[in-house]
Symmetry: none
Subunit: 204 residues, 4 copies
DNA sequence: TATGAATGAGCCTTCATTCAT
DNA sequence: GATGAATGAAGGCTCATTCAT
């Protein structure tokens, strides 16, 4: 009896917390860490200022939670798409495609993850920065596997994985800022080709 | 009539202005626009708060000046290095090498230009964002020329120029954050190879 | 020899001081005590900021000097005009006419004396306030004399002298603010009539 | 949902708002717009600086509120007293008496309205200056009516209404500054007599 | 003496956080 | 728990005054 009640309460708590996070994400995307005041977040979430502090220890905690959540979303999207492929390069392609699609669907996720976070270096603590690099790490694993399997020639995969990710990030940032390239999916395919060539893959 | 603006006095004034800029650049690199308060800038520059306003109309003017200065430094370095080459691809390579070398020499320039500025979208006005994209534009010109001269196959140079720049940016950011790759110049050469292959250049 | 030199120097000093005062008067008239910064006064006077402090101990001293000067001008104008008359009421009329004419000629004197100063109660010290009331005192003397000579019935000349001056001040303030009455001299004559009747003078 | 805006709470809020206004009025009376800093107002009101901004959008809003309030008080006092009379001249007399009595009761209202505001020309916007002239307008209406009803001879009521108000203002200012005349109500009656004669009213 | 750069206290305002209700 | 008023440190900026030249 007691247990169920607690669960229900917990659910309500979680719902509120995620409402706050959603509000903060929107504000963070359109303004910045400093532009998103607690008061404005609370207002957008439909709660009182003080209530915010019942769900998050302070402003920093909120934004840590946001990054965590985003990271989970991203990883989730990637993992799901990857599971459909066996070949390392295909998995890699699938990963990037998953990212691009997610970013198209949730632009503020993109804006925050690609634009806002990198500059928040010192604001968000270092752990977050590591999280942010995760994509590179994932990429590197795929590349290493591909090399091992003879799909790619020997190379410094540390560098090439960074380069690989960098191409996508730059295109996405450009798209966020200028709306160009207008057809992001087509650009994505160009990018894949570019990178596969760069990696030395045998493309027919 | 006794207070003459002698060369000596003027020199001291200029020195002070650049001392302020230097202080602000350091703070901007390690914190952010908001983290670099006028008071902290003044303190770091060894002057009183009010003195700051003798050299810059307001905070925004200071940071505009910083971006201008940095942009000039960057363009200067690039132009100098490019003039040594004729071939479009060589010029492009030289450009990137110039950037990398400058960023190695002046790390806070790198940090601000690569990390801070992109997020300052709304703080610094749009002109500055354009400035920031300049490197992509320069790259695109080189690529177009290379395609025209048959050095590269036909391609969407809008996308590939962004990709090209993105690889460098990502590697540099990683290096700034983690100190890796330790040998940035070697990484640079890997990157060049990666991109040339990606572009479809004939590398023997 | 030395004496003459000193005189000349003194003259130059005085000239500068009065140049500063003139500048300050203009600024004081169009802005306010706080609006007239030392820097702006110095600039308008064509000197350096620091130079100001060679002629005036501080901002307060400057404005004291201004009031003194204005008071002298006012008293000078009044005295000159009064000397042409014998009858107390005529002298009084002449006094007010002198004031009105002076204020027409020098509007910023009017603005400062009638509008700015009264509010500076606490800024300018009390002596200045006394100066400002001087006109009432002069008027009272005339009224007392007129009563004594049977030109006016017995009355509380303390009150009536204040009332008398008040009518002029209010009309002048209205004129300064709104530009009305457009014909100030005609209004002046109406006012004289109003006040003479109010005083109980025999007007045919 | 527990924090209810009960009557008690609301009362406390209202009390605080008026406490702030009261504090500001006192400071404004003894100093000036610039002398009354938000910090000093807050201190005098017994609140923290930041709290001030929960009650007023900014400094200007506070002083606008003050002027509005004072104007309401003044108009209220006048209207109430006027309603007891029918004759235009009696209504006019009643108006002035109401003013004088109010000013006696609330000296800082007097100080601000008579002394501070006139000089604040540019600080408080023009609407406020209009408010300030309202008394003259009211007076003019009464005079026009009195002329129409044959209580007063034909005259330039624009000038005489200004003169009329001016006598009261000057006496009140003198009283505020010097404490004389000590018996303000008696002075008031002298003034009424003075002005009625000035206006050409038939006084027995 | 004249200059104008330098100073720093002080102003208005914002905002993360706390606390009485 | 929920509320929103209260807090006060901190930010950007101005300006009377001083001081090295």
């Amino acid at each position: 009896m007691v247990y169920r009640k607690t669960a229900k309460v917990q659910e309500k708590l979680d719902e509120r917390a995620s409402k706050i996070i959603r509000a903060a994400r929107e504000l963070l995307a359109e303004k910045s860490y400093h532009g998103a005041s607690i008061k404005s977040v609370a207002k957008k979430a439909g709660i009182a200022t003080g209530t915010f502090y019942l769900y998050f220890r302070n402003k920093e905690a909120l934004f840590n939670a946001i990054v965590d959540e985003m990271y989970a979303e991203l990883l989730n999207a990637i993992t799901k798409e990857r599971s459909k492929h066996n070949n390392a390069l295909d998995k890699l392609k699938a990963s990037m495609e998953a990212c691009v699609k997610l970013f198209i669907k949730e632009q503020h996720l993109a804006k925050i993850l690609l634009v806002q976070i990198p500059s928040a270096n010192t604001l968000f603590n270092n752990i977050l920065t590591e999280i942010e690099d995760e994509l590179v790490v994932l990429t590197k694993k795929d590349l290493d596997e591909a090399v091992e399997n003879g799909l790619l020639p020997e190379q410094d995969t540390f560098i090439t994985s960074i380069a690989f990710v960098g191409t996508f990030r730059e295109v996405l940032i450009t798209w966020l800022r200028r709306g160009e390239p207008s057809d992001l999916m087509q650009a994505f395919h160009s990018l894949v080709r570019y990178n596969l060539r760069g990696l030395g893959a045998q493309t027919e």
